[in-house]
Every structure is written in structure tokens, then in C-alpha cells.
Amino acid sequence: MIKRLLVANRGEIARRVFATCRRLGIETVAVHSDADAGMPFVREADLAVRLAGDAPAETYLRGDLLVEAAQRSGADAVHPGYGFLSESADFARAVIGAGLTWVGPTPESIEDMGSKVRAKDLMRRAGVPVLDAPSQPTEADLPLLVKASAGGGGRGMRVVRSLDELTGSVTAAEAEARSAFGDGRVFLEPYVEHGRHVEVQVVGHPGGVLVLGERDCSVQRRHQKIVEEAPAPALPDATRTALHEAARAAAAAIDYRGAGTVEFLYDADSDRFYFLEMNTRLQVEHPVTELVHGVDLVELQLAVAEGRSPDPRTIGETYGHAVEARLYAEDPSTDWQPQSGTLTAMEVPGVDGEFDLLNRPGLRLDSGVQPGSTVSIHYDAMLAKVIAWAPTREQAVRRLAAALRGARLHGIVTNRDLLVEILEDPAFAAGGVGTAFLEEHPPSPAVPVGDHAIAAAIALAERDRASRTVQQGVPVAWRNVVSQPQRTEFEGDLAVEWYGGRDGYAVVGVTVVSASPTEVTLERDSVATTYAVSIAGSRVDVDAPGGHRALTTVPRFADPADAVASGSLLAPMPGTVVSVAVEKGDQVDAGQPVLVLEAMKMQHTVTAPHAGTVTQIDVRTGSQVAAGEILAVVEET
């Protein structure tokens, strides 16, 4: 029996595991980096152990420190969550070697499935269909996909559409895989153009393999899932059954113990599926399965870790449809750049439970952050998962879209609008979209801000009024001689002109019905809309029934001392400098790479804006930089 469990992870998944532990009477231990010290998961745990440093390599990826933390805190079991060391056989061995219970499959199973090449061999032998590329590809075999054997999360993955590209793509993928996973092995497989990503949840236990249906996770960006659902829509029953049986066979082939996911590529055109890989851990998207099947997957993981088979009475009946959307702090309009900063507000309307199975269809929130949390550059930028469960897919999608649209997410750019757009897309509504969905339906350009900006300007004026130290009762921007409107400027060449005075605010086209620093009601064409406004520094978040807009105020004055020298290269995002290609005094050409910056799972090459001399270089490999920080100056020659 597990008495005290350490979660070797952070954020949302740590909270998820703790929630089940609390219900089962298991004490909880968190580990946390310095950057995470204030996060909710640390506070919620019964005990917390600090891991000095911020970078994952110093903290959550340090198996030795994690085992030491477990021992120090008196934990008798370790749950790895997902990501980080969840699929590290070495870590599993270290945990087991220290006499602790490892909540996960055996190190051998992890190793079997960790190498994609080896996994495919195993599956082929077990009779599970796999995609095989010829060793000497010809034109007829195109397109092909280059994948890293040790990969995941889309890294080291490349689509090859002509044979000329093949060698280059393989080399590039090898380099990427080596830097990302320390293993440069790559392999080829046929690329299915309109493939769907369908995966099956299994739980291997002493009595056999429990199959808990499938999930469709085809909506992906940069090969990472953002919308997942259970069951998979538009799937013939026979295929569904065949998928489940293939997954059972896959798990049985390696005598798999614990929760795992067998991922398949489903080609709807031919109604055929192929084994992709098996994830030997809990998946991010596990809640959709939990809701539809009425099962707590973490509870099952713990049961198996304790050597028991799942009690059938802990599994409810299968009912309805669940859809999950992953809220990320990222900007879909700038190539999904991860965002960092302070989340000043986070409210999702109508949540029925957090980390909860829900006793009837409703809305679930699994979140790792809370209002005031800092989203740092060090870790995955996922803020929360919002999951809707309803009798039918249509109802679940509608509920989820409404919840996301009405959510108050302030202080940081998120992918919320994109998620709403996906959920409301007719193709998505029809069901069965492929993994190329987002490439075929790129995010729409931002909707014009319109009255949101007016509401923001009025709220800012009310904030200024409230912070006055003299003449507090005097109407805002009162003038006995009116010469010009007041001007509130926002980034993006956006300005709102308004008048104050005796009769309150006057803005062309709208009537300001009421105003406060947090709420503004505007009437346009006799229709009143109330805007909720949240101001944090220069950022203004405006929520209305029509959606959310974030605006950034432009200060009236800029101190020339703060101005940036022309030719300065600014960090486009917060991150780490991974390489610097030039030295001070070097001559560079326009477009020549100066340095490479990495943030989250992206590398960004910063190039010279013009030909010239590098007169200043303020960073070196390993430097952490904030967005907007000056990296180097190239003086034009």
C-alpha cells in the first residue's frame, strides 16, 4: 500500500495526481524548482521539496535529486506524471532501486516502447499493422515522413515530398533529434496526407489488459495536440473494435502494466490504421476518457502499482462524449510563439469540477495555474485543460466553445480564440478532421478590436480618475474651453478619441451607459454591451460576450534614454541563447544569422537586419533573455 506519494512533475499534472491521492487517503509530496515555488501544486501538497534552479535540466530532469527528495520526504512511491522523466527507464530503475514504488510500467516496457524502431518490430510480430517505408524509397513511395526514433512532441519530424529533399531532411532531423533527445537515430515511414490521430487507452494489470475506448487527437499544431475527444467521431464500428483489439494485443505483447496509450494513424480514405507508437504513461488528454468511461485513471495506475487489478466497481458506465481543449500561453499569429508573463485573471465560467470525474455531464477544468501565477519561460506553456462532457458531441462542443469564449484570461496572450475557432469550424463540427486540419485552416487574422478599445480607453480613464489625489469629484477631462479630444493610444496604431466633461464620456458612435475601472457598458445602435476590463501595467484585457481582446497601452512619453539604438537586435521572445554565431567587430551581411534563441520547443534564428559591423553583443550561449531585451547591435555600414 502506498502511504505517501511524490509526484516527480509540476503544474497541472501534479495537481491532478494529488487530487486522486487526497481522495484515496494518500499523503502527497511535491517537488518544485525555484521558479515554481509559488505555484498552486506546491501549496496543495502535504510536503514540498525544493529543487534548486529553474531549468528542467537542473530540476525536474534530475532523477538523482528526485529520488533523494522522495527519500528525504519519506515518500514510498513516485508518480512521474507526463513529460520530463515519465518515459525514462533509467529513472524508473532508480526509483525501484531505491526501494520505492514506481507508478508506471516496468523499465523494460518503457525501453521496448521508447525506441520507435524497436516498438514497430515488436508490433509487427504481434500482428499489429505498422507503416513500413522501403529501405530504398522511390518516387512512388512519396510523401515520406522522417521521424526520430527517440522522439516525441513533433521534434525531429519532417515531411519529405521529393527525393531531392530526402538526404537533407534526414540530416536535419538527425541533428535536431540528437540535440533534443541525445539520440540521433531517425527512421522513415510513409506519410499519410489526411491521416487522423486515433489512440486507445489501455491499462495493463495482473489480470489482463483493460481497454478504455479510444480518443481522437487529430487537431494538432506543430505536431502537438490541442483538441482531443472521446470517443473518436466518424469511425466505423468494426474499425473501432479492431483498433481496441490491436491495442490490447500491443499491450499484451509486452505484458504491459499500468496506464498506457497505443497511438494509431487512421487513414479514413482506406479505412485502415497503423501503429505509430505506445506512450507508456498517463496522457495529457486522459480526462476525456475519464469522463466518458467514468474512471479515474490515476486511481487505476495506483492500483496496478500496488499490485492489484482494477476493481470493476470503480469503473462507471460509458456515456456521452467529451471534448478537451488545451489552453496554452502562446500566440497562434506569430508561429505559436510561447508567451511568458503574469496571468492576472483566470476564470472559466460554469466549471462543475476540477480534476473531477463529474457525477453528471458538465464542464471540468484541469489547471496548473491560478490568477497571479507567473508563466515562466522554462516549462511547457500549457495553462489548463478545459473539458466538456455532454450526451452528444454537438452539445459537448457547444458547451466547450461557450466556456472558452466566456473565460477571463488576462495578462498573457493565449490560444483561446483559436480554440473557439476550431470548435466552431464546420469541418470540425462534421467530425473526422485530419492532423493537417490547422495547416488547411490556418488561424484567422485577429478580429478588429472595435468597441473593445473604446471600453478599454474609458476604463483607463476611470482608473486614472480613481487614482487622483486632488479634485477627485471633478468630471473626467473637464474643460471649460474644449480644444481637442482626449486620446488613448494602444499598440497596433489604435487610438480612441473621447471627450469627458459635465455630461460624462462622449465617443463618436456609441453611448457610454456606465463606466468604472473594471466594467464599461456601451450602447451602439440601441444595443448595450457590457465589457469587463482588467488593467495590469500596460496591458488591458477586455472581455465581452462577443469575445476577448487584449490591448497594450502606448505611453504618452518615451524616455529617449530608453530608446533602442537602430540596428539593435531584440529578443523576439523570452528564452535561452543556444548559440552565438558572431563576435564583436565582425562584419555581417543582411540576413546573416547572429545567434539562435530557444524557447519552449522552438528555435529562433536572429539575423542581421542589414549589412554592417557587430558593435555590441550582450549575450553568450546559455544566457537567459527576456522578450525585448537587446541581444546585439549591428551598426549599418
Partner: protein, 543 residues
């Protein structure tokens, strides 16, 4: 709405439209051509500079906007003056309008700036001068040069009173004008624009034969790096204003009268109630002020209807909006206590036009009461003057009127005056007219002020002329008399109207009656920058 009220309102709205048109002239400055040229040089207009200088969303009370009205000079007198809040500090701001003859000072400019500096002095306000002026208007130099020196004297005396002065120099500030930055405590000059020297290149050439240029004689960069006249070198106009705001932010300014800042009703709900005094908006809609003033000022109106529309309404700590003093005695003058934006005020308001002995005595007592408790006074004018006639002269009306004028003159609490309607004869004095130096005096568009009503004045002149003719045994020319009366009546009428009087700097501005409460609230806040206590002594009260 009765027909009469409707007519009152229509007349007032018409006068307000005229007022807007006159203000628009001042705002237009030197006209489109010069404004465009100024903008094309990348420069800002004076009111654009002020809008950037004051705190976002704060009020700006422009003073004497109609200065020079009716003269040969542009309405507004090529300078903008007013009170604005900069970094939470109430400041007296002046800004030359370079689109009007290069911002040159004419006699009205000088009068307007003197009035502004008087307000700064009386109320202890830091001064910010936004300088860009071609200097003196040479054709009228005789009216400017000698008195104009006071401008520089006032700046340094302000400094000596520990009230800081700041000059932001945007352009020309030469010859005498060079002493504005010269006499200011802090000076900011805009690079490439400010030009500050005693004599320009031609004058230097004439005087000493030296060849020179603008930049070496008075450029911003030179003054910041060589002469030290500029404390700060601003990159551009925005930067100068930014620096100006930073200077004020560091003044460690504390108002002389410290009280917890009263809080308006919008915030009274939450935090405000606990630690600050709140106040309520008036019990009656200020909009109604437009209906009150009869088109014929011979008809009196009840000033209580004004008071209930400009003073704080019923609320916590203000159980009655107006506590009338001596309501049964001297009913032609209403006196009593009220609050405006949470600040106490004593009010004297004409109710029936004429002031009798009783009203004069009541006023005298009330003014002394306000001084006893250090409460400012508000005078609401609608008076035709002190009563004349044998009965009243014999009853000592002069004596009692003198008592009232004595009390007004020697009262040392701040006075505010609003001329709502008539302000004739010695009534103007007793009710604290311009000559009695109220801290602020504003006029409604319905006001009229003169030694007496135009018809009465013309009639008096006719009677006197007729008597003179009779004394000489001549026939009186009735036709000439009628023409004379018509002419006198018309010209006195014109000269007693608010735009004319405002043009003469006899008030601080003509205001929309609906803004009265706001204007007075700003004034009451502003006067707290200088300490005040009620008078301990008066002139001998003749009995």
C-alpha cells in the same frame, strides 16, 4: 415647462452658443494657415502642449480665455493660462500661442499673464511656463515694456515664497523674454528649437561687430552644456513635457490646508466611506440652471434654486444641502452654509436685486461669522445696487453699505464670486466685485455689470442735460436727447455684457452655468494650496 422657463432656456442656450463661438476663436489661434505651418514644423499648439502636460483625465480650468475680446488683438491674447493638475499638483500653467503673431505679447497678453501670476501668488500654485514667444508686440510696446517687468519679478518672488517655477522653452524666448527661463527655478529647453538670448545676431553685430549665429548665442544645446541656463536638454517637445512632469513629481508638494480629500459619490460605496469624507451630487439637476435666469434682469429669481443645483446634495455629514442664516431678516439677500465637493462654504446671494440696510447688516454679520470659523465665501451676484431714495438715505443706507464693503474688504478667508445676472453700482462692490480681489470671479453669459442699468444711465444723463439746458435758459433738443439716450443705452448695454467685461480681464472667464459647481470645486481645491485664516480685525464699523 412654462413658456417663460422655455424662453429663459432658449435665451441662455443662444448665449452659450455665442460663448462657444468666441472660445473657438481663441482655440483657433492664428488661424488655419499658421496652425498648419506650426504643425508642419513638427511643433505642438499651446493647448496640445497643455493636454500632454496635465495628468490624464484631469481637469483644466482655462482662465481669461476671452482676454482681448473687442480689441484689435486676437481673442485669447496669444497666450493660454489656466490651472491644471500635473503629477497630482495643482499648477498655474501659461503657454504662449506661437501661431498668433509668433506668440508676441500685446497689452492684453500682459494683463492676462499678470492675472495668472496673481492667481498663482494668492493661491500658492507652482508655475509652469510653456515658452515660445517672439517678444513684445512692438507697435504697442509703450503699454507693455514698463509694466511688463513685473512678470519676471513675480517669478522670482514666487520662488522666494518656496513656490517653485518651471519654464519649458519650446522656441523663441529672446530679449526680455529670456528672463522667463532666466528667473525660473527649473528650465528645460528643446534641442534645435529653443532660442534664448538677450540679443540676436543682427543686434550683436550692430552692438559689437561680432559675427554670430542663433545656436551659439542661445541654442538649447549651448545653454545645457555651456551657459548652464538650461537644466535639462529635451530631445523634442514631448520630451520637454515629460521632463516637466518629472520635475513637478519631485517637488515634494504638500497643500497648505491639509484635509482628507473628499470623495465623490461614485467611490463612496466601497473603500471611500471608511476613511474619507464622501459627498453627494446636488439634490436638483444642474441642467435646470439654464431655466432660471429671466431674459429681463429686472425680474429677480430665487438664488436658492441655484444653490441647490451647485452645492452638495443631502447625504452623510450633510443632512441639509443648505442651512440658511437669518432667513427672516433682510430677505433680499440669502445667506447660509453649504458644501461643494465636501468643502464647507458660506454663501451670500442676492434674492430681490436691491440691497437695503437690513441686507447690508446681515451680510456684514455673515462675513464676520465665516471669518470666525475660517470658511471661504461664495458671492452669487444678481444685484441692482443699494437702495436709493430719501427714506433710505435718511435711514443710513450709505453707512450700512459701507459696513458691508468694510467686511468684504477686510475679510481674509478666500472669496469666490459668480456674476449670474445683474451686478450694478455699489452692489458690485459689496458683493465682492473684481476690485475687491476675490480669488476667482466667473460670469454667466446672462450677466450684466455697470455703474447702473443702461436705461437708467441714459435717463440720468438726459435729466442732467435737460437741467443744464434749463439752467442756461435754452430749449432742450428732444430729438438730440432721444438719439443721445439711444446711443448711450446701446453702448452701455454693450459694455456691460460679459464678453466685453471678460475681454477687459474683469473676470476670470465666462462659464456655462451647468459648469458652475465644477469650476467652484476646482477653485476650492486650488485655494487650499495657500494657508488662510479668518480676519481678526476690520476697519472701523461706522454706526
Amino acid at each position: 415647462m412654462t413658456a417663460e422657463v422655455g424662453a429663459n432656456r432658449a435665451a441662455m442656450l443662444e448665449k452659450l452658443a455665442e460663448l462657444d463661438a468666441e472660445h473657438a476663436k481663441a482655440v483657433a489661434g492664428g488661424g488655419e494657415k499658421y496652425v498648419d505651418r506650426h504643425h508642419a514644423r513638427g511643433k505642438l499648439l499651446p493647448r496640445e502642449r497643455i493636454e500632454l502636460l496635465v495628468d490624464p483625465g484631469s481637469a483644466f480650468l482655462e482662465l481669461s480665455p476671452l482676454a482681448g475680446w473687442g480689441s484689435d488683438f486676437q481673442v485669447g491674447a496669444s497666450v493660454v493660462t489656466g490651472i491644471g493638475v500635473v503629477e497630482g499638483v495643482e499648477c498655474l500653467i501659461t503657454a504662449n500661442d506661437p501661431t498668433v503673431k509668433g506668440g508676441a505679447s500685446n497689452p492684453w497678453t500682459v494683463k492676462k499673464i499678470f492675472r495668472a501670476s496673481q492667481i498663482a501668488e494668492e493661491n500658492g500654485l507652482p508655475t509652469i511656463s510653456l515658452v515660445e514667444s517672439a517678444g513684445a508686440d512692438l507697435p504697442t510696446q509703450k503699454e507693455i515694456f514698463i509694466p511688463g517687468g513685473r512678470l519676471f519679478r513675480d517669478l522670482t518672488r514666487s520662488s522666494a515664497r518656496k513656490v517653485p517655477t518651471v519654464a519649458l522653452v519650446f522656441g523663441n524666448s529672446t530679449a526680455g523674454g529670456a528672463y522667463v527661463p532666466g528667473m525660473s527655478d527649473y528650465t528645460v529647453m528643446v534641442e534645435g528649437q529653443a532660442k534664448v538670448f538677450l540679443g540676436g545676431p543682427p543686434l550683436v553685430k550692430m552692438a559689437t561687430g561680432e559675427e554670430s549665429d542663433d545656436e551659439s548665442l542661445g541654442g538649447a544645446s549651448m545653454h545645457a552644456r555651456v551657459s548652464g541656463l538650461a537644466d535639462y536638454l529635451a530631445a523634442d517637445e514631448y520630451d520637454a513635457i515629460r521632463i516637466g512632469r518629472r520635475i513637478i513629481a519631485r517637488l515634494n508638494w504638500r497643500k497648505a490646508v491639509s484635509r482628507s480629500e473628499p470623495v465623490p459619490p461614485t467611490f463612496a460605496g466601497s473603500f471611500a466611506r471608511s476613511f474619507a469624507r464622501s459627498f453627494a451630487e446636488p439634490d436638483a439637476e444642474p441642467e435646470g440652471l439654464l431655466d432660471l435666469v429671466p431674459t429681463d434682469l429686472k425680474e429677480p429669481f430665487d438664488p436658492r434654486e441655484v444653490i441647490v443645483r451647485i452645492c452638495d446634495g443631502t447625504g452623510p455629514g450633510n443632512m441639509r444641502p443648505f442651512d440658511e442664516f437669518k432667513p427672516l431678516y433682510g430677505p433680499s439677500l440669502v445667506t447660509g452654509w453649504a458644501r461643494i465637493h465636501g468643502r464647507p462654504i458660506g454663501i451670500l446671494a442676492n434674492a430681490q436685486g436691491v440691497l437695503f440696510s437690513e441686507e447690508s447688516q446681515k451680510a456684514t454679520q455673515f462675513i464676520q461669522l465665516a471669518n470666525q470659523i475660517d470658511v471661504p465665501l461664495l458671492f452669487l451676484h444678481n444685484t441692482t445696487g443699494y437702495m436709493v431714495g430719501a427714506e433710505y438715505e435718511q435711514g443710513g443706507i450709505i453707512k450700512y453699505g459701507a459696513q458691508m464693503i468694510n467686511a468684504v474688504s477686510n475679510s481674509s478667508v478666500p472669496h469666490l464670486s459668480v456674476i449670474m445676472g445683474a451686478s450694478y453700482g455699489a452692489g458690485n462692490y459689496g458683493m465682492n466685485g473684481r476690485a475687491y480681489d476675490p480669488r476667482f470671479l466667473f460670469t454667466w453669459p446672462s450677466a450684466k455689470s455697470a455703474v447702473m442699468g443702461p436705461a437708467q444711465l441714459a435717463g440720468v444723463m438726459s435729466i442732467v442735460a435737460r437741467q443744464a439746458a434749463e439752467a442756461r435758459g435754452q430749449d432742450y433738443d428732444e430729438k438730440a436727447d432721444a438719439e443721445m439716450r439711444a446711443f448711450v443705452e446701446a453702448s452701455v448695454e454693450e459694455q456691460s455684457l460679459p464678453f466685453f467685461l471678460s475681454g477687459m480681464l474683469y473676470d476670470d472667464g465666462v462659464i456655462d452655468p451647468r459648469d458652475t459647481r465644477t469650476v467652484l470645486a476646482i477653485c476650492l481645491s486650488v485655494i487650499e494650496n495657500a494657508p488662510f485664516t479668518g480676519a481678526r480685525g476690520y476697519g472701523v464699523f461706522r454706526t
